[in-house]
Symmetry: C2
Subunit: 380 residues, 2 copies
Amino acid sequence: MKLNILKDSLNDSIQHVSRAISSRTTIPILSGIKIDVQPDGVTLTASDTEISVQSFIALEKEGTEIIHVETPGSVVLPAKFFTEIIKKLPSSDVTIEVRDNFITWIRSGSAEIQIVGLDPEEYPLLPQLEEQSVVSIPSDLLKTMIRQTTFAVSTSETSPILTGVLWNFSPDRLKLIACDRLRMASREAQIEAGTETGLQNIVIAGKSLNELNKLLPDQNTPIEIVVANNQVLFKIDHILFYTRILDGAYPDTSKLIPQSFQTHLTIDTKKLADAIDRAYLLSREEKTNIVKMTLKDERTVEISSSSSELGKVTEQIDTHELTGDLLSVSFNSKYMLDALKVIDSDFISLCFRGAMQPIIMKPDDHGNMLHLIMPYRTTN
Amino acid sequence: MKLNILKDSLNDSIQHVSRAISSRTTIPILSGIKIDVQPDGVTLTASDTEISVQSFIALEKEGTEIIHVETPGSVVLPAKFFTEIIKKLPSSDVTIEVRDNFITWIRSGSAEIQIVGLDPEEYPLLPQLEEQSVVSIPSDLLKTMIRQTTFAVSTSETSPILTGVLWNFSPDRLKLIACDRLRMASREAQIEAGTETGLQNIVIAGKSLNELNKLLPDQNTPIEIVVANNQVLFKIDHILFYTRILDGAYPDTSKLIPQSFQTHLTIDTKKLADAIDRAYLLSREEKTNIVKMTLKDERTVEISSSSSELGKVTEQIDTHELTGDLLSVSFNSKYMLDALKVIDSDFISLCFRGAMQPIIMKPDDHGNMLHLIMPYRTTN
């Protein structure tokens, strides 16, 4: 294997696949990046068994030669050292050559590096997915949907299925749901189902989705999603992102949502978020995060928290609209802030069924998003 | 105590004194910030016993009223919560009022906060320094001198005096020296000694100097340094920075520097630094940091490192000038990089007395700085 490649292109591609490098792998070959050089370009691969990322670099880009292949071939190079040394090479041009025993020579300007490579035959094969179940979704929308739900997954491994986000496909809609027993976030959107009619529901680990989100471009480039038995593949331009589908049945979260409410409140999202943020500062010091919301009258909501050691925070905000019974409810302010942060609308609606019943939050201007927060049972 | 103050000015002042707040203090009152309101302005004080910082806010700044004092007085408020809540207040205007039992009311826009304050009488007094031993030095120069030496202090508590930087005052010069047995950095400059003739040498903890450096402005504002028996005070505009002088005798480092050399090398600073940085990447993986410099001939220096597991990095750099014996020397590349980073000159001189003798490095264009690095004794 021998080739010439522009440093910046190689570097970009390494950054992409690095998402799948775990510093704590128990499988030595997976601490490496696999490099495959074919006559038409170079493919880098990295995997931590949960996710695998493949990035392809074509010979040319916009008329500029990126790669000159002398001899095709493959090698696996230790990810950390390879990543760092490529970044710091003195010239914009890099020659990579694999000699006997996978010893790899890297030359750039005056620098000459020999890296002890590993046998690419030992590298696990990526899953071959049958491309029968394909949907397409614009990258920016997908990115937003992931951001608006993934924060709510459970971090506890006691019920592994809740560490994932449910992807609920219906013929022309996709709905993402995350929940951790004390809160729930859901977001849906219209999608083009492509040739596919009955796509199954799948659950993908929140951690994997956070890595995927870093690779998704902010533009509305279409992203193809290929779903197979136990793997799902996201096709992002020249990057392939594979992740495992979590085993197990996701709970039916629709039962959590009350069907009728005593009280409806509409309020300025930012004003509410800022007031809760100040009250959170105090409740965080107490390590409880408990903040209280009191509907004082039709026009006034009071946000407060108190700590016997530190003091008290109180703030009154004007409502936009308030109908139904007045009440007082305490909740985990961190959870409330997480939800408020991902709601992009200027006003939000909160629906209450009582001090001990789930709080429902929705943007005021559309019904594509819903957040649920369980209240705290406090004595006052 | 009651006053009105602009949030941004209060915030700036809190940021200054926060440098002296330790998260691990064993003295409860020192986890607070002391606020003194006098008719002419507000003084904030924080201390962790090693360093103390005082910041004064005047009633007016450039014709704008910053503070309106209703009733003078004092209180101590818990630093962390006070700092964070002031940052997040809704209005640019803040009212602070201390009522019974040091309960402090903070009002800003719609937000009302009560903080349980502490008795200011319990707050330790700052040292009163006699202003007899005063020198003045431009802030930017002082900042540079600290940056160019402090990195080389010892981090080991086995000889506490070496965790400090020696401040060597002569009638019109100041020289800072830091050393940790394997390396040494020194930097001197001409200063105005003011009225002072025989200022003593002092040693100041590297940690304290790093905090001081964050408060020093980048301009050439004069900084007054007041030296007393066991304390030194830096006067930075409206900020006073006190720190303890370390006890003990600082070793005589001049003995470490060889008086004659076999070999003199002048070389491009950046090219040398970049090559050593690449070799360091490999040696760091081996956890040795050992890099070898070989003077091949009059024109060529080779930088290399190798690891049986990972591979080898080799690079040749052109010399600017090389006189004397050719030799090969191994050293801790992290130490060499630390020194190269603070040398602002384009070319540096390296002087060698042999493979086992200290390496001396100086900027090529002035003699105000000197770095010493002990070589490794390797078998090849």
